[in-house]
């Protein structure tokens, strides 16, 4: 009866329960995810996430391309934080091959990474509301997000797959129009915040759908290695930008918002405040933008980093994104392991989703902000 009976699900098979394949074609599965659920009525008894539908073999490509040729791949691993991954990869290789990065390039990297984080949180905000039924906030979020995409398009040339980083800096310098547009975006975001707060955050139906739903305990987070806003919603203020500062993050003063509830509402509030913190970082970075070159004089393309194993991590919109690089001294990487935050988030879902209702599953998956392409890699 079931083409893919996971052993875990075959145990108690009484007649009241039935299997339901939620996905891979399902409106709120955030990419291509299939949840194999065993339900009694609307209550979920067991859940086995089936992944691999969007597997593009990034890690295999990494082993067949030189270090510079793998650059375009990095902004396609997690299409929502393309910029953060792209620049993260550049910083990892720079650290490995000890390449100097000009100060202005570091500041630009912080600005565009935080813009990318806000854009990712805005898309999460819209789709989370879509998952619990509110359609209009989705359009408002995309209206704001469109501003960021056009700002980034001006300087990188593309809206999503940026390939903006180069070893030793960034590919293009930012000009006054970029700075002026970013400042007007920041004022617009702060003007919109109270509207979102009243329309969504205070809405009684939204509160009822989120409060106390999908609580992730600290043990579960610790067991599965969960990081990012979901972990901060449990009260642990772990953020790679603070724990292992890179690209000059230590000079900016920003807080790490945390909550203790660990439910959908706490995750929602953490991300909303994170957007505000990112605005603060951008503002400080714009005010103290140093002059100078943004990339090395000569375009670095032949690169032979020293042999060995290196690890470098950045804070993506979804959590701790780590790159474990093994180099054998050659021009082609021996291995790159991409440790993505959504992978551990989704692996904990089989434990978190048990005992919830179908409607809650969609809300929890929406609030945890999982992106499938970065799980399947």
């Amino acid at each position: 009866m079931n083409p893919h009976p996971a052993p875990a699900l075959e145990r108690a098979h009484d007649d009241e329960t039935y299997y339901l394949n939620m996905g891979p074609q399902h409106p709120s599965m955030h990419g291509v995810l299939r949840l194999l659920l065993r339900l009694r009525g609307e209550l979920i008894l067991e859940c086995d996430p089936v992944i691999g539908y969007a597997h593009r073999a990034h890690e295999k490509m990494a082993e067949n391309r030189s270090w510079i040729q793998f650059l375009p791949n990095t902004s396609r691993i997690d299409y929502l934080s393309g910029m953060i991954y792209n620049l993260g990869y550049c910083q990892a290789v720079e650290k490995m091959a000890s390449i100097e990065v000009p100060v202005r390039a570091q500041a630009i990297r912080v600005i565009v990474s935080e813009l990318n984080r806000i854009q990712s949180h805005l898309l999460w905000f819209g789709t989370f509301l879509l998952d619990i039924g509110g359609i209009t906030p989705f359009l408002y979020c995309f209206d704001d997000r469109e501003k960021i995409l056009s700002i980034l398009e001006r300087v990188t040339g593309s809206r999503l797959t940026y390939s903006y980083g180069r070893f030793g800096g960034v590919s293009q310098d930012i000009d006054d129009v970029f700075i002026e547009q970013t400042r007007s975006f920041l004022t617009r975001m702060r003007k919109q915040a109270p509207m979102y707060h009243q329309l969504v955050h205070e809405n009684v139906i939204f509160r009822k759908r989120c409060e106390g739903v999908g609580v992730i305990s600290r043990e579960v987070a610790h067991d599965y290695g969960i990081t990012g806003p979901t972990l901060r919603a449990i009260g642990v203020d772990y953020d790679v930008r603070r724990a292992e500062p890179y690209s000059g993050y230590e000079q900016y003063d920003f807080e790490i918002p945390t909550r203790t509830g660990g439910d959908c509402l706490a995750r929602f509030e953490v991300r909303i405040e994170e957007m505000e913190q990112s605005c603060r970082i951008i503002e400080q970075a714009l005010d103290a933008l140093p002059d100078g070159p943004v990339k090395p004089a000569k375009f670095i393309k032949k690169l032979k980093p020293p042999a060995g194993e290196f690890y470098f991590a950045v804070e993506s919109a979804r959590g701790h994104f780590g790159m474990h690089m093994v180099s054998d001294g050659g021009d082609v990487p021996s291995k790159i392991k991409l440790r993505t935050p959504s992978f551990s988030l989704l692996s904990s879902m089989s434990e978190v989703l048990e005992g919830t209702m179908v409607a809650d599953t969609i809300a929890i998956l929406g609030s945890v902000d999982v992106v499938l392409p970065e799980i399947d890699r």
Binding site: D131, I132, G133, I205, M357
Partner: protein, 345 residues
């Protein structure tokens, strides 16, 4: 008292023929307009333009949709329960035509004027549930089954606050001013269940919404739940059940579901107008204009609510009905009865 079709034509067959024709045209025009109106209202709210390509301001968009739906292939999935699957859209659509003919839209003419009009409308309203359940159960699809189970529980439990809030209006009609009213020369004993009598009771005095604000809100919320709209659209929750009970329908069968939904919405709005907003009563403009203006105002509010609120979870939906709406409606009836007893002595 409005002259019914039967008085005009005498012969019942001609009367019913004309009646059905009139109702079908009104409902089709209403559906064509409502679909376009809903897309425009949602567009205005969401900083969009809505359909603009077909016809000026996209007015012919719904006609284009209908032609497309007619042209689409009717997919019939395997393993379906044939009678249930094929009859479901008709069951949803047919009672709507019947209940549309009961509503009094003008002083002089009416399609039919029965002294138990209110009860008949609620009875026909109850048929929709059977149709939805047949659709969900018959289409051999787990999502449709989930949607069907949800719709049965939701529609049945929201019948209770619907009736109770209408009951308080019926009380008001019977007890106001000794229950008589003079029109011209004849004195009519007001009968609370006759829809035109309810409107007549409001034309003389204030509209019932003034006396019964809570009942009006409860009635409006219950209408939303009955027609599976807005915060209560669990049976066809896109983000959970893909398309709920009409997942396996395509082409004109899906169009019929759409037809049924918007007609039910239209009937609900007209019923609320009759009960609370004084039907055809209004200064200057003729009766029907006021009647349809108020109905479409309510339809606009329904759409406005739909594009603002997220969706309730299933158990919250039930709790809201039984723990909030029903007790409030009962208390409302008691208060109304007590107040009328005191006022009328």
């Amino acid at each position: 008292m409005p002259r019914t079709l039967l008085d005009i034509f005498g012969n019942p067959f001609i009367a019913t023929g004309v009646g059905i024709g009139a109702v079908m045209t009104v409902l089709s025009i209403n559906v064509l307009f409502c679909i376009w109106f809903e897309r425009k209202v949602s567009a205005w709210i969401q900083r969009r333009l809505g359909p603009m390509e077909v016809g000026p301001q996209g007015t012919l968009q719904t006609v284009a949709d209908m032609v497309k739906l007619l042209g689409k292939q009717l997919l019939t999935p395997a393993g379906i329960d044939k009678p249930l699957y094929h009859l479901a859209p008709l069951i949803i659509f047919a009672p709507v035509v019947a209940s549309a003919s009961l509503l009094p839209f003008s002083k002089s003419v009416a399609l039919s004027d029965l002294n138990i009009g209110l009860i008949l409308v609620f009875m026909f309203g109850g048929f929709a549930v059977v149709g939805i359940f047949m659709a969900g159960w018959g289409s051999n699809n787990k999502y449709a089954l989930l949607g069907a189970m949800r719709s049965v529980a939701q529609n049945i439990s929201y019948e209770v606050p619907l009736l109770l809030s209408a009951l308080s209006v019926v009380l008001m009609v019977g007890a106001q001013g000794g229950g008589q009213i003079e029109i011209g020369d004849e004195v009519i004993q007001l009968n609370g269940l006759n829809l035109s009598h309810i409107t007549l009771a409001q034309t003389s005095g204030l509209w019932f919404i003034v006396f019964q604000p809570i009942a009006a809100v409860i009635f409006f919320i219950a209408i939303l739940a009955e027609t599976n709209r807005a915060p209560f659209d669990l049976p066809e929750a896109e983000s959970e059940l893909i398309a709920g009970f009409h997942t396996e329908y395509s082409g004109m069968r899906f169009g019929l579901f759409f037809f049924g939904e918007y007609s039910n919405m239209f009937i609900g709005a007209m019923l609320a107008t009759v009960l609370f907003l004084g039907g055809w009563d209004g200064p200057l403009l003729p009766g029907p204009v006021w009647f349809f203006f108020k109905s479409y105002l309510l339809i606009f509010v329904m759409m406005w609510v739909r594009w603002t609120f997220p969706r309730l979870r299933f158990d919250q939906l039930m709790a809201f009905c039984w723990a909030v709406l029903t007790p409030l409606a009962i208390v409302n009836i008691l208060v109304t009865a007590f107040a009328l007893k005191v006022v009328n002595g």
